[in-house]
Chain length 220, copies 2
DNA sequence: GTCTATACACCGATAGAC
DNA sequence: GTCTATCGGTGTATAGAC
């Protein structure tokens, strides 16, 4: 943002290190379940230093959400299908989502928590509109963009008659839920599928299963 | 449990009232996000009285989970399909799940949190086995039963060639995720579908959409 | 930018009167 | 079964030295 020639990853400074450790903690314990003392000791700084980099805990949490959403957005945008058919685009989107979440252990849990929580954030006012009174936060803009692109994919597929005329909102919730819960389910997921959910074999099977399941569910 | 002739719902005593209020609070704020003081004031008791009924906050939380799971289990078991075909059983199961969650606002959120959290509970040791050292809690037994029945439904459908030979564990996670996220998504869900997620129209459409989506995803 | 020291509200939990 | 009073600890956040 404020580094004019930043394309390459910089050497991690204290701020980055705080964000990284906080991400794991928030994913594991949720917003209210993490204390600044605990975080400070794991980062190796004093508690006061945390408040130098982030004025409040809520600011820190918003930055963590923005960081993980930016990685997810980059992962989804990097996937280019071979053709522009809705099926190919849908498959590429699912593959990219699974791939991205599989390489980013805290991401699934963090996202699921953010989607379910109304607190500490009033649930992502995606379209604040003129009279809402509040400006959207950075991570809200990112989430709106991600969901908007998927919505566009579904709409064009339906328009072309490739997908069934499903309810787009319902379908977004169904697809997101089926993709994310797996990577957010921890021990329960491991028990259900019989191996670690982030193992190579489990991820590759997940990709195939989800692709088949969702394609069949949507195709006309 | 300790009322020999209890078939009818009793008049709600303090314990029931605590559980009911706590359920809403835990669903909204998660385990760590709720304080016993806040709960006590909302119930209309002193904090100490809470500890008379439940020795620790964790015991209270376990009781809340058990209570909501018992309602879900009852809702799922009450649905009897007209025939014993796997398609009919699956449809009946989905209808019952949607119906139950739609009539029980805190349930979806509470369940989603319980599935994602490893803390405060070490994630539902569904099959503790002989050497696990720990006895399963009441709500774990209930969840294992619910998931086990759905697993049996899928297995018999696959065996009869009605369903595709999907990975059962993956499919359970996909189906559960797509069903629950909708009812746990709060404001975000409302924005996505354009109306309150618990409104009659939204619930009825949800039932149809999920039924179609999942049936098509699974049928051979 | 990092530290020590501190402020003060709230945390879960207990003791003991009624 | 409910209450008041209290415990030690932790919550976020700030002041001010270096």
């Amino acid at each position: 943002m404020d580094d004019p020639q930043s394309e390459m990853p910089r050497a991690p400074d204290s701020r980055d290190k705080i964000l990284e450790v906080a991400e794991g903690l928030f994913a594991y314990g949720g917003y209210a379940g993490v204390g600044m003392r605990q975080l400070a000791s794991m980062v190796g700084l004093s508690k006061s230093s945390l408040f130098h980099h982030f004025p409040t805990k809520l600011d820190l949490y918003a930055s963590v959400l923005d960081r993980v959403l930016s990685r997810i957005e980059a992962g989804l945008d990097g996937a280019r299908p071979r053709t522009d058919s809705p099926e190919a685009r849908l498959t590429a989107w699912i593959d990219a989502a699974v791939q991205t979440l599989s390489e980013d252990v805290p991401a699934g849990r963090l996202m699921m928590r953010a989607l379910v929580d109304e607190e500490p954030f009033p649930a992502l006012e995606l379209k604040p509109g003129p009279g809402s009174g509040r400006e959207p936060m950075s991570f809200e803009v990112r989430l709106a963009r991600i969901l908007g692109r998927f919505e566009g994919l579904l709409a064009s597929g339906i328009e072309q008659g490739v997908f069934r005329p499903v309810s787009i909102g319902d379908t977004i919730l169904s697809v997101i839920g089926s993709i994310i819960l797996h990577f957010a389910s921890g021990d329960l997921g491991e028990i259900l599928i019989g191996e670690p959910i982030f193992s190579g074999a489990a991820v590759e099977r997940r990709r195939r299963e989800l692709s088949e399941f969702i394609q069949r569910g949507l195709l006309a």
